[in-house]
């Protein structure tokens, strides 16, 4: 019962973040929305790893967090200077 409530709340929150990512008028809006979506899905992954008693979910979540951080920083740098390098 508790699992359904927690995962349902996370799913609803993720759907709202995805809606903002679709309608967001500027590029930073979309970056913020996708960052929040990734955070919610990481917490859902950790909870699923606990529920199924499988540690592979945690490895995926850690790599997902790192990739999300690098992606957000790269997009921010691109928006600032229109140039990813240097």
């Amino acid at each position: 019962m508790m699992e359904i409530v927690v995962l349902g709340a996370m799913l609803l929150a993720g759907a709202m973040c995805a809606a903002r990512a679709v309608i967001g008028p500027t590029a930073p809006d979309r970056v913020v929305a996708i960052d929040a979506l990734v955070a919610i899905s990481i917490s859902a992954m950790v909870f699923l790893g606990f529920y199924y008693n499988a540690q592979i979910y945690l490895d995926v979540a850690l790599v997902y967090a790192m990739l999300s951080f690098i992606g957000s920083i790269a997009v921010a740098k691109y928006l600032e200077r229109e140039d990813v390098g240097a």
Binding site: A9, A13, T26, P28, V32, I42, F47
Partner: protein, 108 residues
């Protein structure tokens, strides 16, 4: 006892995720939406990861989960700062009812 604590942390995290998502949909511009993003990451995700690791008990699962929480705790402010700065530099407007823009004043 410790299961009740873990479930309470999980419930708080899920509720914070929902509240932050509503804020992300309803707030008027990027800079206020970053505030809702912080509620989702720190209040929602990190709290529910800590709740899950409390439920999991001592072991390698808890260690990895806390490592993920620590990583998110370190990187969330960096990401928010970078996005806010990039949005301001690339000319995203503030909401028309905003009262102060310190970065614009500092840059002249």
């Amino acid at each position: 006892m410790i299961e009740i604590a873990g479930m309470a942390l999980l419930a708080i995290g899920a509720a914070c995720s929902l509240i932050g998502s509503i804020g992300l949909l309803r707030f008027p511009d990027v800079y206020t939406r970053l505030h809702a993003n912080t509620v989702i990451v720190v209040g929602g995700a990190i709290t529910s990861i800590i709740g899950t690791s409390v439920l999991g008990g001592l072991g390698s699962f808890t260690l990895k989960a806390l490592l993920i929480a620590l990583f998110m705790f370190i990187t969330a402010p960096v990401t928010s700062h970078a996005i806010a700065r990039a949005a301001h530099r690339s000319g995203v407007r503030l909401w028309e009812k905003s009262v102060v823009d310190k970065l614009k004043e500092a840059e002249g």
